[in-house]
Amino acid sequence: MDKTVTAARKRSPAGLIILVLAAIILALLPLVIQGYWIRVITSLFMYAAMAEALNLVVGYAGYAAFGNGVFFGIGAYMTAILMTHYKWGFFPASAISGLTAMLIAFILGWPVLRLRGHYFAIATIGINMAVMEIVTYVGITGGGKGISLPLYPGDIVKQGMFFYYSMFILMLVSIAITAWIVHGRLGYGLRAIKTQPDAAEVMGIDTTLYKVYAWSISALITGIAGSLNAYWLTFLEPIYVFDIMISVEVFVMVLLGGPGTILGPILGAFFLKLLSELVWSQFTLIHMGVLGLIIVVISLFLPAGLMGLLRQAGRWRRTAPQSLGNR
């Protein structure tokens, strides 16, 4: 654990420059691309933000939150209800949606985050299912019939830009929050909980409180992603927004990119989503199989994710000249 922390510290100036550079490129990208590609990259940002949010719980606290997609659905439905039934504007609706998701995570976190390992994973799936049933049953959500949101005012170009930059900012915020947490007291506490929960407790860390904080922040980001997605897609059905596949996909992104690293989940999300986009356009009928195969190969040969691979490459390069010199 110490090694990775120091490695991260060492790399940070170069890493920061790359991050800023990538951010500038992505910020300017809408000048050259349009339509479909705007939409594809917007969804990259959305998944990247959700993966980063999940990373807080999975990567840092070491808790397999398998049903984190529930906050995506909660955010989506809260926005839909506030905008259609109460005629709110999008921004206040979105803020309340994020806060609602956060509050629910905060309340549920107390009992659920006392569970360890598989039990917690299963409990989060249970929560996802339960909330889906509630949303289907309650009349105000439109139930199984779904709910339509108002269209974004303005033409298609403006609409594309709005969601592109909103998701982009959400992703940047999720990275910033993660970086801030990792280098702060909460981050050290979470890593202590991940490696030695009992020792952490003995050392005076309120483990449940820390985990609840991490999960709530995760829920906030995921909820806002859901809220933006709802306004973007304009139509919600419980089976779409509470689809367990959303959770699974985001989880794979975290594992693929490298859990417990700041940029890993972002990388994982970009990689998986772009890959599937390319795969889907090539193999219309067998894409699921191809995608599954790719995931298996990656998890067999890249257990530490893409960030692990990069780190490994860095280590090889560092050791190679030294050994030459020794000779």
Partner: protein
């Protein structure tokens, strides 16, 4: 340190370049193909995988058959010039988010002006919103939830009558069979289409002098309906209407039999038109009625495919099985677009849309005419069929009747 930085920098630049090259535009919508023929590109995002893959495949067969028929006849005639039809398919995996993305891809990358719709109303709601923003035309063959047509979209047209009218025919025929039939029970799984049908049936029943003694919904994946059936039996309902899919119909019939509940009329939305319903229920399926949007033995006639029977024959030759109404609706979607383009004499979206508004044609599917919301009002609603001796026969309306109804249900 420096070297690694350079490598990272290159990585970023390469990936950016890769992104950009992938983003170039493509040919114009009325391009010229290899053989020098003019082509109209039409986009279709359907579900070939996922939970609606069966319906997606049936829909594609309908589109394909239309495409083949038109192209064999030379193509679509636009002011004397013949254009071949090229349908570009995309698989949305029964996922609305994906379908939205693919629709935008079809519009901005493939430059299509016309979209033939997805199967489900939920997914159509997502894609119609995008087509509306781009001012492209969407014609959906099967999505008929009323909410879809309440958004005021000017570029959306639907072939099926609204879902709310699905079981009205059953109530109509009930009146003629026995004026003492008054008590109706309606059960529905909790899903967009089913609830729309149930609400429509309830309203129609109440305005037509029936008494709805039981009305409730259940979770879409319910495995047992016996508690509902018990209540319905207790309420003394003479007519049972179920608005679910195949599994729901089978479940309701089985539970009713187990509990000794024998209504005079039992009718379901989709069950009768799918052969599996008869297969899994055997003799218990006898006398069950169903709403029927289209069957090969209906007496409709059009110029492209001939009669409904001719269409069925052609379909069987092509795919080796009887056409389901899904495929027929898909084929007629193509016909509508073709007729509108030919009548408009133009490929411009605005011209074609305005022509569609006033379109009034006869097809093997029945008459086609759109109201101001884009709903086809050429036919008033669904016909009623009944399972008799293991066969599905049309019993209502009178002019389409093949056999006298069996009443009450054995």
């Amino acid at each position: 340190m420096m070297r690694r930085f350079v490598i990272y920098l290159m990585l970023v630049v390469v990936s950016a370049a890769f992104l950009l090259t992938g983003c170039g535009g493509k040919a114009d919508q009325s391009a010229v193909d290899d053989k020098g023929e003019k082509v109209i590109k039409i986009g279709a995002s359907l579900s070939f995988t996922g939970q609606m893959s069966r319906e997606g495949t049936l829909t594609k067969q309908g589109y394909d058959l239309w495409q083949k028929t038109v192209n064999n006849a030379g193509g679509i005639n636009v002011n004397g010039e013949k254009y071949k039809v090229e349908i570009i398919y995309k698989d949305d995996q029964s996922d609305a988010q994906r379908s939205a993305k693919l629709t935008e891809q079809l519009i901005t990358e493939e430059k299509v002006n016309y979209l033939l719709g997805p199967y489900s109303s939920g997914i159509s709601a997502a894609t119609a919103a995008i087509a509306e923003k781009y001012n492209k035309l969407t014609i959906v063959p099967l999505a008929n939830a009323p909410s879809l047509y309440e958004n005021g979209y000017k570029n959306l047209f639907g072939v099926l009558p609204l879902a709310t009218t699905y079981l009205n025919g059953v109530l109509d025929i009930a009146k003629t069979l026995d004026p003492n039939l008054k008590k109706v029970a309606i059960i529905s799984p909790d899903a967009l289409f089913s609830l729309s049908v149930a609400e429509g049936a309830k309203q129609y029943a109440e305005t037509n002098g029936f008494e709805v003694v039981y009305y409730d919904k259940y979770p879409a994946d319910a495995k047992d309906l016996s508690s509902m059936i018990t209540k319905i039996k207790g309420a003394g309902a003479q007519i049972l209407l179920g608005t679910g899919y195949l599994a729901d119909g089978v479940l309701a019939v089985r539970n009713a039999k187990d509990l000794g509940y024998k209504p005079a009329i039992m009718a379901f939305t989709i069950a009768t038109s799918i052969p599996d319903f008869r297969k899994s229920l055997g003799a218990d399926a006898e006398g069950v009625m169903g709403g029927e949007w289209w069957t090969p033995n209906m007496q409709w006639q059009g110029d492209i495919f001939g009669s409904a029977g001719d269409y069925a024959q052609l379909f069987k030759k092509e795919f080796g099985e009887e056409p389901a109404y899904y495929s027929a609706a898909a084929s007629v979607t193509g016909i509508i677009l073709q007729k509108a383009i030919e009548k408009a004499g133009s490929l411009e979206v605005d011209a074609v849309r305005d022509t569609m508004r006033g379109l009034d044609i006869q097809t093997f599917w029945g008459p086609i005419r759109f109201n101001e919301k884009g709903v086809n009002v050429g036919t008033s609603g669904a016909a009623v069929s009944q399972i008799q001796n293991g066969q599905v026969v049309v019993i209502w309306p009178q002019e389409l009747q093949q056999n006298k109804p069996i009443f009450p249900k054995p």
